[in-house]
Amino acid sequence: MKRRLAVGLAVALGVLTAGVGVATSYGAKTATTTLTMWSYDNQDPGLEPVLKQLSKQFEQSHPGVKINLVFKDFNSLVGTVPRALASGSGPDVTEGNQGYQTDAQLVKAKLILPLDKYIKKYHWDRLYSQSTWGMFRWTPDGKSFGKGPIWGLAQTGQNVVVFYNKAKLRSLGFDPDTMPTTFAGFDKLLGQLRAKLPKSQPVIEEGNKEGYGFIHLFGGIWGAYEKPASVRNWIYHVPGSRYDTPGTIKALAKLQSWAKSGYFNSDYNAVGYDVSAGLFAKGKGVFWIGGDWDSTIIKTGLGKDVGAMASPPGPRGVWSSIGGLSGPWHISSKTKYADLGAEWLNYVITSTQAKKLMFGQQQLPADGSAKAPANNPYLTAVYKAFKTVADDNGLLLYTDWASPSMYTTLQNQYQQLLAGRTSAAGMAKAVQTDWDKFDKTLR
């Protein structure tokens, strides 16, 4: 018995020492620096392949550097990233989310670095227009949005686009090459389509399971009735801004009337956003109104039959829609490799290779100097939709940035509005109440 124990002990010790030996010699040979990046840009497939390939190239040009890309879905990333960064063992570089729920927290808790130093070094100031930078600016106390130092940098432009099925329009007797250029014309077209389509088929296919489908879709209507600058000021908590304005209430009533008239698929609350894009690509609905980051899904299914346009403007003539830039990349204040992280960001955002790969995945580089490849009419149309709105200062940003609980409030309110359980004025009041409650904590 005793002897067996001794033998066992010796074996165990041997294994242990051998293990230690291997570990040290291995460690000495390959002194790798590993950078961990967190991203949620994997929308089937979104930017995922672009980031993967660019990181591989980055590793090749930087021997001894390993890029560890971690993809998470949006909700689980923003739900865990503050604590992961605070723990010190979180990502070196990560996406956050503009607005009070995530970025304000990261700034206030000093978990991310201001980027001024790198903006100078890499001339990033040339990337976006002056007003666009607002979405990355925060005062260091995390209270004022839209002013103060810059804390983030984004890879792509995002815009909610009206995608349409050309073949279906043609079969119903409409010309897909002369689409309406005013909101009134678009609204009228929807009504005509409803009358011609069989009841079981929706005019607009939509997925609102996650709750952002209608936050996005509403932008086109909102911009037709309300000034884009007022919408942005409200998100930035500029004093005196309000949501319950006559314009917004009219726009909400219009959205409700679309639901009442049966323009949407009846199961919109049970269908996911990307899933609905997939269903549209398979021929459901004449329109899908959603993020241009899903344009690959749509292109794959519809091929030549798909068209894309910006949501047509209201009487004011300003092209506007929900949109901005993609999730902001941040550098952790606890990373040992901040400079290397900035270099990686510069590579995946501004390099020629990066822009080429992004266009290749139907993603729109945020870098204003990018040019869409010729001989790709679909991509040109999607890019044009973004440029039209961006150049018209019509990007309405994302409404949920306005407070930490705004996302849930909007999710609830849109679902109730569309089901006819609340009125346009009722919803406007509920949303403004949420805003007021949070606004008090900022004063």
């Binding site: 923003v78 739900g79 865990t80 503050p82 604590r83 605070a86 729920q101 927290q105 206030k108 808790a109 978990l111 399971k209 996650e210 709750g211 009846s266 199961d267 919109y268 609350n269 049970a270 269908v271 930490p404 609980s405 996302y407 849930t408 999710q411 609830n412 309110q413 679902q415 109730q416 089901a419 359980r421």
Partner: protein
């Protein structure tokens, strides 16, 4: 302790009257603490300490990252007037019906049927019906999301038998999302209830059944007079377990309707999650968690108390 030298001495000691400071055999001894130490350490470390911690956090206004401010009981006073929290508890009450009451009734009916008419392959059914208990909640939620899908098997079946007008996107429907989630809970828990009851029935003396039959009791009478009273303990255990399950349910709700549509499936645990991880209100989330824990304690105590009283009666 010189007597310990031989085995014979032990026998002598047993015959000798016990000294007063010597504990009776079977009396608790301090060594007992050593035996429970590993379990106790785990319990203190992973259950008790977090519980105390949560209560402590609930007294602060805290975003989870920066310095926290002591606010006393103000989180509780805001919880008291929070209509979202109140409606989440109402939704929980609905879920208790589906997670606890219906499964217990179903389990009892199944047990009654099985004890009167034993079926072949009973062991197989017992295992099969218990199986949902062993599957992770996320997997169950995924499977049922598919079943409830607008183009899923449930709606397909309804349409096939000519009830197409009843077909709907169940989890996206204001009135049906909560019952739909409840049904998942029923499916998960009724097997557990049945297994508990069937094993309980086996310890009811068969003489009682014989007596009931001799007295001419029918199936219903026999069930009410013999089976149900004999299963009181098991019914109580099942009710407590399933009620706790209903109140804490998070995984299935989060992975199906996630509180929607329009907040109709918001449950306290979901609301706690939203406050802690989305709204950056960790202190308030801790208060919600504490209220939920107290509610569970109180409900479990009531169930056990009522059961106790009816036993004495």
């Amino acid at each position: 302790m010189a007597e310990r030298q031989s085995a014979g001495a032990g026998l002598l000691r047993r015959l000798r009257p016990r000294r007063r400071d010597e504990p009776a055999p079977g009396d608790p001894r301090n060594i007992g603490w050593l035996y429970v130490l590993p379990g106790l350490a785990f319990y203190v470390l992973f259950t008790l300490a977090p519980l105390v911690h949560t209560v402590y956090y609930s007294l602060f206004s805290w975003d989870g990252l920066t310095a926290k401010t002591y606010v006393g009981l103000s989180n509780y006073s805001s919880a008291f007037v929070d209509s979202a929290l109140r409606s989440s508890f109402v939704h929980s009450a609905v879920l208790i019906a589906f997670y606890a009451v219906i499964p217990v009734i179903l389990g009892l009916l199944l047990t009654a049927a099985l004890t009167r008419h034993p079926v072949r392959g009973f062991r197989f059914f017992r295992t099969a019906l218990f199986l949902p208990q062993l599957i992770a909640g996320v997997v169950i939620a995924q499977a049922w999301t598919w079943i409830y899908d607008d183009n899923g098997p449930l709606n397909w079946a309804l349409r096939e038998v000519g009830l197409g007008s009843l077909a709907r996107p169940w989890l996206g429907d204001f009135s049906w999302a909560l019952p739909a989630i409840g049904t998942i809970g029923t499916w998960v828990t009724y097997g557990l209830c049945m297994v508990l009851f069937v094993s309980g029935v086996q310890k009811i003396p068969s003489t009682l059944y014989d007596a009931a039959r001799v007295d001419g009791a029918g199936a219903v009478r026999e069930f009410l007079a013999v089976t149900l009273p004999g299963l009181r303990g098991e019914v109580l255990v099942a009710l407590v377990l399933t009620t706790i399950n209903a109140l804490r349910s998070f995984d299935i709700v989060y992975n199906t309707a996630a509180g929607g549509p329009g907040g109709t499936t918001l449950v306290p645990s979901m609301y706690m999650y939203q406050n802690a991880f989305l709204y950056n209100k960790v202190g308030y989330a801790a208060a919600v968690a504490t209220i939920l824990a107290v509610t569970i304690f109180v409900l479990a105590a009531i169930v056990l108390r009522v059961g106790d009283r009816s036993e004495r009666a």
